[in-house]
């Protein structure tokens, strides 16, 4: 059986105006995942929702019902889309889904090749699915293992290859855009809408170029005040935002609002009294905070996340050269995970096999001692030890072959054969008996490998 499936939409399959319709807030994600795990055949689920992608990882993989349930969740979120949502969705099963997540975590599938932000986003998605103590974990042993391993792979890709070196950040692109419009940024007025980290980074970069004043507006005034204090600006209440907009040269919007906060009518009204100079708007939010029609207004330069990544990336060529090296790491981690997944079904079989023949050994010894009552305690111990040694020798090769076969994807076939040949009853293959992440397990003197979860 395939370990996992992924259904999703990304910058490779859909433009920002479509992607924003698939976007989930953390609260929405938690609610949807809970419903999915309790109300369908889905056993485990993790939802990754970023600016560039929305992906739903589900277990068991390769199951049509599970995949359809996942697709339904995404399609319902997107609502009515011209031509249907399926044209934008991709689906990967089994090995392909595993490799996909490793590539995503490593930044190989990102709009900006090698960008580091995705690592944190993958971690957040994983924690959301397993980190709330008030609810049952939505990521079970398989997705737990997969995401732990993916984060480890992503970290290793960034630490051992130059894929992330000099990646164009949104902040650097924003500064370049601002310079190309205003020339010098000295004396320019900046407003942040929302209190996101990316907006904060952009402002820090702009501040180094001498912006005059900073205004922060957020639905939660306390958060706006806190950010304003940190960036030496001042906070305004959300309903005062239009007044501040009239004096703004650069607007950075990055709220989590589900609908645009700056509409064309509102914008026109807000800018009525302004000098009519250029206004640069960086809409970093998904869904977007600023109506696209605002960009058609005179002297307004509106850029969303997709637009910003179009800017020339000087180091792209060098980073691209490191992709094959990163792909080797992806392959290595994927192989390890799949090996773990294959062998996890073998562990209970080995345990049963061992138990089955140990029972036989003990029964035969008891029968033997009844016949040989004159044998001393010391000799009995020697025979006992010999029988154990013999059993280990006899089971060693079959166990090793079973492990290897499982690692090569023939686990189910071998398990069935072993169960049949050795007459093993009720072999427990339930995933709950899988080895705990990060541990190596020894069953009947035979070590069963678990995949790596760290750089070693």
């Amino acid at each position: 059986m395939s370990p996992v499936s992924v259904v999703g939409v990304s910058h490779l399959t859909a433009p920002v105006e479509i992607r924003e319709r698939f976007s989930f807030t953390p609260t929405e994600a938690e609610s949807v995942l809970g419903g999915l795990v309790t109300g369908s055949e889905v056993e485990e689920a993790v939802l990754l929702s970023t600016c560039n992608r929305t992906e739903l990882y589900v277990c068991p993989g390769g199951n049509e019902y599970v995949r359809e349930a996942a697709e339904r969740v995404l399609s319902e979120k997107a609502g009515e889309v011209v031509g249907g949502t399926k044209q934008y969705l991709y689906r990967h099963d089994g090995e392909a889904a595993v490799r996909h997540l490793y590539r995503v975590a490593g930044g190989l599938d990102s709009l900006v090749l090698g960008e580091a932000e995705i690592q944190g986003q993958v971690k957040d998605a994983y924690e959301l699915a397993g980190g709330n103590p008030a609810t049952p974990p939505l990521a079970g042993p398989i997705l737990h293992r997969l995401f732990q391993s993916a984060l480890s792979a992503g970290g290793r890709i960034r630490s051992t290859t130059p894929i992330g070196e000099g990646a164009a950040s949104v902040a650097s692109v924003a500064v370049e855009l601002a310079r190309k419009i205003f020339g010098s940024l000295e004396g320019r007025q900046v407003m942040i809408l929302g209190a996101g980290t990316t907006a904060e980074l952009v402002v820090e970069a702009l501040a180094r170029d001498g912006i005059r004043g900073l205004v922060v507006s957020n639905r939660t005034f306390e958060r706006a005040s806190e950010l304003a204090r940190r960036l030496s600006g001042h906070a305004v209440h959300f309903d005062e935002m239009p007044f501040a907009l009239a004096k703004t040269d650069i607007l950075i919007a990055s709220t989590a609002a589900p609908h645009p906060l700056v509409t064309r009518d509102g914008f026109r009204h807000a800018r009525e009294g302004s000098a009519g100079g250029p206004l640069l708007i960086l809409d970093l939010a998904i869904p977007r905070d600023v109506e696209p029609e605002v960009g058609h207004e005179a002297n307004v330069f509106l850029y969303n996340v997709d637009d910003l990544h179009e800017i020339k990336d000087d180091n792209l060529l060098r980073r691209r050269e490191s992709v094959p090296e990163a792909e080797v790491i992806v392959e290595e981690y994927a192989r390890d995970f799949l090996h773990w997944y294959g062998t996890r079904g073998v562990v209970p079989v080995i345990r049963s096999l061992r138990s089955r023949w140990d029972d036989v050994r003990q029964r035969e010894l008891e029968r033997l001692w009844q016949k040989l009552s004159h044998v001393s305690e010391e000799d009995r111990d020697n025979v006992e030890a010999f029988s154990k040694q013999l059993l280990n020798k006899l089971l060693h090769d079959p166990t090793q072959r079973l492990k290897q076969g499982a690692g090569n994807g023939r686990g189910v076939e071998f398990i069935d054969a072993v169960r049949y040949l050795h007459d093993l009853e009720a072999v427990e293959t339930d995933s709950s008996e899988a080895p705990e992440p990060g541990d190596d397990e020894e069953v009947g003197g035979i070590e069963v490998d678990a995949p790596r979860t760290d750089d070693g």
Binding site: L177, R179, K180, I181, F182, G183, S184, G276, P278, A298, N299, F301, Y303, D307, E310, I311, K312, D314
Partner: protein, 269 residues
Amino acid sequence: MTHAVALLFYIGSLILWFRSLLSGGRGRGPGIAFGLAAAGVAVHIVALARFTAEYGQLPLNGLAPSLSTVALVIGIGLVATLGLGEGRRVGIVLIPVVILLEVVAVSLGIRPAPDPLDFQGAWFAFHVTLAFVGLGGLAVAFASGLLYLVQLHELNTKRMGRLFQFTPPLATLDRLVRTGLVAGFITFTLALALGWLWTASFRQSFDQSNPKVLWAIMSWFIFVVALGVRAGGGVKERRSALASVVGFSVIVISYLGLRLVSSGGGFFL
């Protein structure tokens, strides 16, 4: 020979400007291109000074000397952008204009006019020099306006490639457009006023059929329109840039047209 050396510097500068464009303006290319253009201007000044010394007249009369002087004025206009950082990159548009004018002048032969005008002197020199400076100002406005429209297009289409990287900021270009137009308008107006005063003093009548006069008046109105469009709401910077580009083009095309239809206009420019 000196003109040829100046041309070589200009051509070298042009090659470097285009190489810089291909690299998105990175590195020292734009600086070296500007330096070569400045060297060309210096040699050009020497060449026209030698002309003045050799023939005892300023290079303001006759087609070839006049074209060479206009080219020099435009070159000086470029050198004047020295302190404007990326604004110096208007050289990529101005240098081809300079080269074109200088090539035509050298091809025609930079010699003194066979029939020196009787009104040569300080009066005439001021009139012509101011007119040339006015045209130089409009040329700078044209180059800056053209790059403004290019940069605006890049920003609006969100392509942000090498052209975007190379082209100066909108604000810098708008400042150059405004400066070129204002400086050009003032000097050109003074030139026309001096011309009118000279006519009133020496000829008592204004020759309205003279193509040079018509062309000069039309050029002055183009300045007025290009500056006038900056008034009012909307994107005045874009309007001004567009007016500068169209205005300069109209002046050049109308000049060529008048040259063709005016058989006896050897003195024209």
